[in-house]
Structure formats: structure tokens, C-alpha cells
Subunit: 518 residues, 2 copies
């Protein structure tokens, strides 16, 4: 064993067993308690038949238990499959079937989906209820599992499969990204080796099913501090958590920062403990940074750019580029540059590195590179070429190695920090009997950064209202993927080769606004 | 490729090509220059027949070129064999033969050994002269190799062999410790993920053939700062370097710290740029720390403990335990606790973990674990059990996970930061025709921490003076391994089983002094 995601828990028990490990609502647990609970939970999972390499799913909002499940799964050498809480039952069932998830942890918020998931994903045989209400029939309650005899850490490490994270696919089918112990640790190290220590109390506000949240789990476990977990981000829950637990570090997207600053009760909270903020999904605008700097004079800002296939962030834009003097260096609109355990380059369609300033595709590799997609050798070969992950994001690199993202080659929209693939939304829209053709694009939005916008052409003689089309989509895909605005046209602009010219559609919306900047 | 020791150089070229990379005497080179020189030097080595997996030796005091050789060897996927500059020609030749080193870089200081090494190690076919004087016959000069056409980095990474470091052996035969790209990076990360950034200018004062020096090479390359290299440590060279180049970070052993403070010209130098000092080989005494803290009020101290088989340090005692308030926590005499990428435990002779406070052997594992000993499967199996490196060092662990070293199970002496194995010295002493039996132990020494001390019994009717015995030893082993004090006795204390009871010999010397404390 060389690199293992459970080493941090063994070290914690050895060095600071009585330090607070997790806080969630009124629950507070020390590292000694978490260590014992993880060993017991692993024992319970083994008794359910989970062994090395098996997939264990979790469909839940954030909680302290989410962290215990992560660690218990790694303890057994199994792989966690953290399900996207915004997906429909149909999408969820697809992902569970795809990687043969047999055990699923589920919280109160997702119980209403259980029957539908079960109907479509009969492979899920064991259901574990994460809530504190009476346990639903045919499920096992979580807390009683802690009475199971503890088992030893099996010592999974290095390239052993640790997780399968599903991402929306360009073809409309989600892909399972296989990450190892080493790759997840690599992303944590990209943060930890920046030269900025992680503080004593880290707030998990970003969803833990997403690498943006999961990265923070491991950089904080390696640092040995306390995890404060809120169910999901709301400005009020965020401010209450920071004030109550003297939170020092967190990760947000700029949209969330703005929501906090805009909140009517903002000035009623003391948020002065906050010292370090990692943000991602988009650069931060000068206007928002000005407001945030005034509101949080002691806060350091660092932007990260990454993707699930790289276990999280591979570039960072450090705090020194966010200060008044640092901003003069003109890097604030970039996504930063390669982190300590990563290499990044801009390539053409043949994979050849392009000169600085020339737009191409971002490719990256390093300790955090994925193992590949679950059971999709062709997609793996397309994305992972010569060991480099090809991101699908268009960017150029300046003379100092900073990357500036200019477009998404894979036609992806980033709305409120969530990736939405246009192809997937178009598939849903086109299933409506009245729609002839359709193009889905991202358009600038004050609140979400980008908004999912559909341009549709009706079939001759047919009719459909925006509301009806919206309802139609919500039955097929997650709410955040559905078009927030719909525009009817008589035809779409086509290229000579018959392809829809999305750039022309986007131009009208983006001419005044700066793409990817709030 | 996931973890590679050349990634730092690619990143440097991409992000800060014009930053100063190395300084040595009057030579100053940027990262752009170093990148080009390494690619050319790799081309020259390839032309000499070096390919992936081959060993390349270097026998030299520290210089900027030492760093170029390291990187060029990794660039080719070959393995560097950094020779101990204090070894005799006989010992050096053994190590070159042992791992079949065919190319050797040699500096001026070691030219006098060349013939003797060549005679005993004919496997070394290509000699490259690192100096600036006229090139000796049958050698190639270093600088002209920079005109060779550059070659591409072959992309060696992860578990690929990167280095073979020789350590003195308990049996009297040095062992080649095989380290990979991953393991060397693991040791750098143990430092980098401590939460204390490495500063802009790092001074290499410790020898670069030793992991204590080599660790610093990679934590500074990953951090992207400047390497200031002095030929070897002298208090005057150290002080001049710090003042002249505004050195911020370095690594010393406590003996060296004391030599600097004791130097008559100490107060003539401005050493205020020094901000972070890693020290090792022994704890620092309260007295010395007091003096150092007064002399360097802005300096942070961190102790590291490690070994070649772990690519460097796996435990650290952070700055917070060196401050006046921190010292009250009583950890200053410890060697710290497990670093972020490591696990450490205290085990009995069966490998079972012992309760806190019980003395046993230190075992450690993690990202920095060696691959094994070169061509010594039995010794590898003895040291590397279940993936844990068994250090041979005796210690106990306290309730907070700090290890306190109390004895060296493998009977090793640490003198001025160098490891000396008693068995090797005893072998040399016993080759003298007048000596019947002998025991070599470490005894406390104000200057060296420990001193090599020999207790000898003469053969009946034979005679030998301490000077004669000392000269005899110097012909066989390196000077620092030779006994600095010799005691003649009529017999040695033996146990019932006939083993020499070294503890009884040590008691007289150590009863007043605290072992391992200067």
C-alpha cells in the first residue's frame, strides 16, 4: 500500500482522536467515534455481501453520515457511487444498473423516488435508510448498523477502484467515471501543495455527490480538521453555519457567493472566521470580487478548474491574483494554471500542443487522472488519449501558463455550478410530438451565470406552449437541466453541412455580456 | 503517467520560464535554461547508450550541475545512483559494480579516487567530468554535452525506478535502496502538505547524494522556487550564501546549526531572510533551540525523521512545538508524528503494534516507500514486511502519536548527521591482526551528537596503539565511520548466550547524558 484514502483516518486516531471530526445539525462526533463507526459500518456492509471492488450507492443530501459512508466503502476496498441528487428516477436507475450497484444509502429527501428507482433498477437489493424517522419497510436503518462488529481495513490503495461518479454525457447517456485511491488523493494534493494551509473548520456546502464537494472531503481529512456539513446550500444555512462553528474554509461557486451577499440578513451575521474560499465553475467578476472583498476583508480567494475525469481541480488561480495589486496582472478572468501534481496543455484536434494564445482544447494529466469510464472503452479511448484527459473545454494559454476558457467544445452549459449537456436537453425536447427541431444553448443569466435556453421549431400545423414543453421536459430530466427560457422560431440557422450553427444563436445573447463571467 | 519527477520542470517552463532556477558560485540559470540543458544532457546520455532503467552514477560535492544530472536521468527514464562522497574507493566501486553503473559523473574533489574506482569497477565505462578545469584524459567534459540535440522526456513515472541510493549495511555490505518516481515525490509531499509553504530561495547545504538533500530538491522543484547550491556545508559558506541570495529555507542537522552559531563571524552576517529550517538526524536540545531562536527570531523550526528506505522523512515535528508555548507540550525530544502521506507504528518483533509508551521498532509505510533493495531479495523481505518498512530504530509512541526514539535496534550510530553501522566498523577493526574482539558503540559527543567509539580486546602477546588502529581503519572505510575514540579492555561483557552486551558498555557513557540529544 502506498496511497490510501483511509490512511487519514488511521492517522487521526493515532494523533488527535478527541478532535472534532464532523458536525451536522446537532450531531458532533470526534475522530475516535468516526473511526469506530466506519469500522462497524464496513462490517455491516460486508455482512450484506459487499466485498472488494463492489459498488455501493448513496442518494442523499449532505450530512455527516455521507462522510462515514465514503470512508466505510473505502475501508472495504469497495467503490462508492455517489448519485446526483438532482437527477430523475429514470436517470438514477440508469446509473445504478450501469455499474451494478447493489447496496444503496438513501435519505429522507429522496425516499419519494425509491419506488421508481427500484422498479427500474432491481439490481439494488439492499436499501439503507439514512434518516432518523421510522425506517421504511424493506429498508435497514442506518444507526443500528453501528452495533455491528468492526472489521479491519482491507488496505485498498493506489489504483484500486474507489469511486464511480456519473457525469452527464454528450450523447445523452451519463458516463461512470472510475477514480482510484490515488487519483482522488491526487486532487486533494493539488490543493494541499499550493502552500496555503487548510484551516481548522471546513464547511461542506457544495454537494458531496460532486467532485467539487468530494475534493474538500479529502483535503480536509488529510489536513485533520473538522468537517461542518450542511444539508445543501442556502444563503441562510451557510451564514448560520459559518457563524455558529467559526468556519475557516469552504468552497462555493460565484453564484452562491452572490446569493450570500444579496441576502437581506447578510449584515446580521458575523462571518469573520472565514479565511479561505475556493470557488469554481466560472471566474469571479470584478464587481462581485469587489463586493466580496469589502464584505470579507480577511478572506483569501482561490479559483479552481477541473472535471470529474480528473478527480477535481487541476488548475488553480491563487489568492495573490485576487488582491488589488494582483488583479493588475490581468489573470482574474483565467482559470489559473497547472497545480503541483498536474500538467495542462492546449491541443488541436490531433492532440498537438498549440502556441500560446491559440484557442484549442484543454488536456490535462497527473496523479488525479481517472482510470477510465465504466464499461465504455470507446468513450474512454476518445477522452483519455496518451494518458491525457481531453476536457472538451475550449481555451487558450497565455505566456505565463494561465488558461482562459473561451468555449465549451462539448457544448456544455454551466448553470449555477452544474454542468448541463445540450445534447441531453435536446433529446428531451425533441421527444415532444409537436417539436420539429431544437437547439439548446447557454445564455448569460444574472443569477445562474448561464441559463439553459431552448430555440425550437414546431412541426407544421402543431402547437405547444412554453409551459407545456417545460412540463414535458421535467418528466424526463432533472429540473436544473430543463430550459428556463424557450424561444419559438420558424427555422434554425444551418451550416453548409447541415449542422445547426449554434454560434449564431448564441451571438445575440452574448454580444453584450462576457461569456462565463457573471 | 500520473506522478513523474520531471513534471515540475515542464510546469516551470510553462509558467515561469524566466525565474531563476539554480545558483552556484557565479553561475545563475533560469528554468528555461535548465529545461533546455536537461533535454540536451539527456540526449548526450542516450548517445552514450543510457536507456530506460539503466543506472547513472554521480560522485560529486553539491553543485547546480548535480540537479541537472538528477533531472536528465529521470528525463530518460534511467535511475540515478548518487554516490556517498565520504566513501572509500573500495566502497564506491562495490556500489557501482553492485548495480552495474556504466556512466559516472565525477567532480574535481573526487578525481583522485578515479583510478582506484576504475580498477575495481570496470563496469563504469563512461566518465563525465563535472569540473571546469581541463578535462582529464579518457573523460568527457560536461559543458560540451549541452550542445547535443535535445530529446523528448520519455515519460517515466509512478513505480518506474528513479534512483538507487546506497546505505551502509548492518552486515557490512552497503545496500542499494531502489526508489521510484512516486516514492521520491511522496517524500516531497510529506513536506509540502504540512501547511507551511516552501519559500522563494532554498539553500542546499546538506549533501545531495543523501535523501536529506535530495528531498529538498524535489520539494523546491514542485514549489517552483530557486535552488541555491553550496559545494558542501561550512558555517562560513552557509552564512555567505544566506546573506548574498536572501535564502528563505534550508535543511541542516543540529550539529550544523551549532557550528553556525559558534562561528566567530556569526554576528557579521545578516541572516534575517531565513524563515524556515528543517532539521533532522536528532532532536534539537533546549539549549541550542534557545540560542537559535534568539539569533533567528523570525525562523520557524521543523524536525523531520526518516530513512533512505522511505525516500526521506515520514514524520515531522512542526514549528508549533518549537515556540515557547509549544515547548510546554513536551514534544521537543520526539521525532514528530506521521506526515500526510505516511503511516507510522511501533511494533514488536512479530510485527504486532505495541501499546503507547512501549518501546519497539518503528515501522512506516506510505507513498514514499521504497521498491526494495537492489538485487537483495532476502534483505528486502526482512525490511519490507506486509508493505511496512521496518526501520531498525527503537522508539515508543505517546498518546498523541509522537514517536520518541530511544535506541537503534540495528546498532547504528548517528554522528554529525551520518549513519554509521557498528557492524561495518567492527568488521574493519577486526581485520587488524592484533585485535581479538571488538564492540563499536555511539557515545555522546558535544560536537557530533554521537561519536563512534570502539572497545577492543588485544590478542594475547600482541600490541597496537590507538593511532595505528585508526590508520588501519581509514584504509578500509570512510573517515567518518572510523572510531574517534578507542578503549582497550581485557575482556568484553558477554551475555549468557555469548553475545557482547553493548548496553552495558553504553551505560557508562550515557548514564549522565540523554541519548540522542546533543
Amino acid at each position: 500500500m502506498t496511497v490510501s484514502l483511509t490512511q487519514c483516518l488511521h492517522r487521526a486516531l493515532q494523533q488527535y482522536p478527541d478532535r472534532l471530526a464532523t458536525i451536522h445539525a446537532s450531531r458532533r462526533r470526534t475522530y475516535r467515534e468516526i473511526h469506530a463507526r466506519v469500522a462497524s459500518l464496513a462490517g455491516a456492509l460486508r455482512a450484506m455481501g459487499v466485498s472488494k471492488g463492489d459498488r455501493v450507492g448513496i442518494l442523499s443530501l449532505n450530512s455527516d453520515r455521507y462522510l462515514e459512508v465514503y470512508l466505510a466503502v473505502f475501508w472495504l476496498g469497495a467503490a462508492i457511487n455517489p448519485a446526483n441528487t438532482r437527477w430523475s428516477a429514470h436517470e438514477l436507475a440508469y446509473s445504478f444498473r450501469d455499474c451494478d450497484t447493489r447496496v444503496l444509502f438513501i435519505d429522507d429527501a429522496h425516499l419519494p423516488l425509491a419506488d421508481a428507482v427500484h422498479a427500474e433498477a432491481p439490481c439494488v437489493q439492499q436499501w439503507i435508510y439514512l434518516g432518523d424517522a421510522p425506517c421504511p419497510a424493506a429498508m435497514q436503518a442506518y444507526e443500528p448498523l453501528m452495533a455491528t462488529a468492526p472489521v479491519d481495513d482491507v488496505g485498498a490503495a493506489d489504483r484500486d477502484l474507489a469511486a464511480v461518479f456519473y457525469t452527464g454525457g454528450t450523447t445523452g447517456f451519463p458516463k461512470g467515471v472510475q477514480l482510484s485511491h490515488e487519483s482522488i488523493m491526487g486532487a486533494a494534493l493539488n490543493r494541499l501543495a499550493q502552500g496555503h494551509p487548510v484551516g481548522p473548520v471546513y464547511l461542506h456546502a457544495a454537494p458531496l455527490f460532486h467532485l467539487a464537494g468530494a475534493m474538500g472531503v479529502f483535503w480536509q481529512f488529510v489536513s485533520g480538521g473538522t468537517h461542518m456539513v450542511i444539508k445543501s446550500f442556502t444563503p441562510l444555512d451557510f451564514m448560520q453555519a459559518v457563524q455558529q462553528e467559526q468556519v475557516s474554509d469552504t468552497l462555493l461557486v460565484p453564484t452562491m457567493v452572490q446569493m450570500v451577499l444579496d441576502h437581506p440578513e447578510f449584515s446580521a451575521y458575523d462571518l469573520g472566521s472565514l479565511k479561505f474560499l475556493v470557488y469554481g465553475a466560472s471566474p469571479i467578476s470584478e464587481t462581485l470580487l469587489d463586493r466580496a472583498t469589502t464584505a470579507f476583508p480577511d478572506l483569501q480567494f482561490m479559483q479552481g478548474y477541473g472535471m470529474t475525469e480528473l478527480s477535481g481541480c487541476v488548475t488553480y488561480l491563487g489568492p495573490e491574483f485576487h488582491t488589488p495589486a494582483g488583479r493588475a496582472r490581468g489573470k482574474l478572468r483565467s482559470a489559473g494554471r497547472a497545480a503541483p501534481m498536474a500538467e495542462v496543455k492546449i491541443v488541436d484536434s490531433e492532440g498537438q500542443e498549440l502556441p500560446r494564445g491559440t484557442v484549442g482544447e484543454i488536456a490535462a494529466r497527473g496523479m488525479s487522472t481517472m482510470l477510465g469510464y465504466w464499461n465504455k472503452p470507446e468513450e474512454t479511448a476518445r477522452t483519455l488519449r496518451d494518458g491525457w484527459v481531453h476536457s472538451g473545454d475550449g481555451a487558450y494559454m497565455d505566456e505565463d501558463g494561465f488558461i482562459f476558457i473561451v468555449d465549451r467544445l462539448k457544448d456544455m452549459i454551466v448553470s449555477g455550478g452544474e454542468n448541463v449537456y445540450s445534447a441531453e436537453v435536446e433529446n428531451a425536447v425533441l421527444k415532444h410530438p409537436a417539436i420539429a427541431s431544437c437547439a439548446v444553448i447557454g445564455v448569460p443569466d444574472d443569477k445562474w451565470g448561464e441559463r439553459v435556453h431552448a430555440v425550437v421549431v414546431l412541426k407544421p400545423g402543431m402547437d405547444c406552449t412554453p409551459d407545456a414543453l417545460s412540463t414535458h421536459c421535467k418528466n424526463l430530466i432533472a429540473g436544473y437541466k430543463c430550459p428556463r427560457s424557450i424561444e419559438f422560431r420558424s427555422e434554425l440557422p444551418l451550416s453548409g453541412a447541415g449542422k445547426i450553427m449554434k454560434n449564431r444563436l448564441r451571438e445575440a445573447h452574448w454580444s453584450q455580456a462576457n461569456r462565463r463571467v457573471n
